[in-house]
């Protein structure tokens, strides 16, 4: 079977679970954007974001044999990415006891070299606003606003009640709107 953009996720999962590295590489390429946005949203554009991305792919590879297709692979990957990010944030908290809390600007990190001045400024403002949110709120914001999952799907992915998603989202939106006031119309 030819492996490429036309291959279905199900075919690639079967091949990758059977040990085909090309099939898994195609899955990595296909879901890099989903993972990158989740990881950068949760951790910021920091050096450990890339490590977290790799960890997501390792966990995905290990889970392929047991993936039953109840959710889409995108949802499954997003769930893994959130778990990896929460683990990473726990490690950061533990390290903060040994090495003083990382500066917020460090978590915002370097801008994409392809961005223009205004875009860089907006991107950094978005990241600063996200970093200011509690990680639990960040996860809800990313799933609902960035990935476009419904409230019920978000509740299912994170494993919290629908009411909690709604309250966290309302609070997070108010905080984001206040932080990003200069970039919002009306």
């Amino acid at each position: 079977m030819d492996i490429g953009p036309a291959s279905t996720d199900a075919d690639l999962i079967d091949l990758a679970a059977g040990g085909d590295p090309c099939a898994f590489r195609e899955l990595v390429r296909r879901y890099e954007a989903t993972v990158a946005r989740t990881v950068h949203g949760m951790l910021g554009n920091t050096a450990d974001a890339d490590d977290a991305g790799q960890e997501v792919m390792v966990r995905l590879y290990r889970a392929l044999a047991t993936f039953r297709g109840e959710a889409s692979l995108g949802t499954y990957v997003t769930r893994i990415a959130l778990n990896v990010c929460f683990d990473q944030l726990k490690r950061r908290r533990r390290q903060a006891w040994q090495f003083w809390q990382a500066d917020e600007d460090e978590q915002v990190g370097l801008a994409d070299p392809h961005d223009t001045g205004a875009a860089i400024e907006a991107a950094q403002a978005v990241q600063r606003a996200l970093v200011a949110l509690k990680p639990d709120y960040r996860a809800v914001v990313l799933l609902r606003l960035l990935h476009g999952y419904s409230t019920e799907e978000t509740a299912d992915i994170i494993g919290i009640p629908v009411g909690t998603v709604l309250s966290r989202l309302a609070r997070a939106k108010a905080l984001l709107a206040a932080e990003l006031e200069d970039y919002l119309d009306g």
Binding site: V58, R62, A123, L130, L176, L184
Partner: protein, 107 residues
């Protein structure tokens, strides 16, 4: 009206997030991810081998300990002398002749 404003604000926030968050890692992420998968597989292979060896050791060690206890119990039961010291108990349990200066290095 308030609901419309909230929807509008939500769409704007979603657009800002989409524009502000990078959707790519550093170049050649797929190559690094594949290398990480291979490294994890190799580590997993070593861990599996260590676990198999530990299982094999447990399979041998547990029956050996049981057999040893059975022999000890049999020998203790068969002996008649009271055991005044640990040394005499071990001697009776495993039928080991007492070590003397003549026998200590006779192996």
């Amino acid at each position: 009206m308030a609901e419309m404003h909230e929807d509008w604000q939500e769409r704007q926030l979603a657009a800002l997030l989409a524009a502000g968050l990078r959707d790519r890692f550093a170049p050649h992420f797929d190559t690094r991810a594949m290398a990480a998968v291979r490294a994890a597989q190799a580590q997993g292979g070593l861990a599996d081998m260590a676990e198999r060896m530990a299982q094999a050791c447990r399979r041998v060690a547990v029956p050996a300990a049981v057999l040893s206890l059975m022999i000890a119990a049999y020998n203790v039961g068969a002996g008649s002398a009271p055991f005044e010291t640990v040394g005499t108990f071990v001697e009776a349990a495993f039928s080991i002749p007492p070590a003397t200066p003549d026998t200590a290095f006779s192996l």
